[in-house]
Symmetry: C2
Subunit: 158 residues, 2 copies
DNA sequence: ATATTTAGTTAGCCTAGCTAACTAATTCTA
DNA sequence: TAGAATTAGTTAGCTAGGCTAACTAAATAT
């Protein structure tokens, strides 16, 4: 286990095990775990580890981004990002430019190769699940799409 | 990145990016990632890392279980499980008994302390999400509950 | 009776987390 | 405005968790 990071005592009043919210939360949590576990297989085909894929994704979609912002997005410490970006750079997937506005700073951006690799990976990963969803009645597929939106809303402002 | 594990060429025909299944899959994938990321905070309070919590969970719910079965459930190699279980044992959360039916084998089971720690963690983790769900209109909460069931069904037979 | 397979462990390597300690640049303040 | 404090990023060194290779011991197959 990595050394625990101090949290700003986050404990909101937890729902008691009796409430309908708790039961749903439990099911949702479990479903999310199993969903992601089943997709991990596809990610391996990219040749990149999960942390690298995740960081690359933030860099691709988050435009040129500062190291500190990237660390925050990935919820890791700056040294972790430093090393990770160094590896992505060595692989030709991203580049580091000095920030002209602040000469301490650095902006990371994806190369064409990086974008391409990510896009392929996303296609593979989501492709398998997408095929399964195609087989579903449209009603159920719509239900899942709405659920995804609800979940994002629940989680986003956290 | 850990050395890639050979996969039995799993590539099912991926859905093309145009289909409705693909768009939904993308949203669902993203929602699952963000959901789990937001809950990670609570897991840290348990003092156990994610791999240890996950293995402990399998041991608690999967009854006395062989090392090899545990490795399969966690999708890791036997040496990884050997070491992980050794640590859980050192912490007093699980115990290893020789398998009387096959003297090469070992059965791992949770101690009372292990069960208790897991239950507390689950309460904390799901509590925060549960509270958020309580605030939702019952209709939307039901939608999420049904979505969870659908997802499990999609993923389970994979 | 011996050879092969299977269950688990040990040894040794790599990646990804962390903290601590550092440099360089910026910003604040007396 | 000189000096102090803060901020951005890196380097060094540690631990945990992944892997393969190589091993022991037991079970099974020839």
């Amino acid at each position: 286990m990595p050394a625990p990071r101090r949290q700003a005592a986050a404990a909101a009043a937890p729902a008691s095990p009796r409430t309908p919210g708790f039961a749903t939360a439990d099911r949702l949590h479990s479903a999310a775990i199993h969903l992601l576990r089943s997709l991990r297989v596809e990610d391996r085909a990219s040749g990149l580890s999960a942390p690298r894929l995740s960081a690359l994704s933030v860099i691709v979609f988050g435009g040129p981004i500062a190291m500190s912002a990237l660390a925050a997005a990935e919820q890791v410490r700056p040294p972790t990002i430093s090393r990770l970006v160094a590896e992505l750079e060595r692989l030709g997937l991203v580049e580091r430019d000095p920030d002209p506005a602040d000469r301490r700073g650095v902006k990371v951006r994806a190369t064409a190769k990086g974008r391409q690799l990510l896009e392929e990976g996303r296609r593979r990963r989501v492709g398998r699940l997408g095929a399964a969803l195609e087989a579903l009645p449209p009603r159920e597929r719509k239900l899942l799409a709405r659920a995804a939106v609800l979940i994002e809303a629940l989680v986003r402002p956290a």
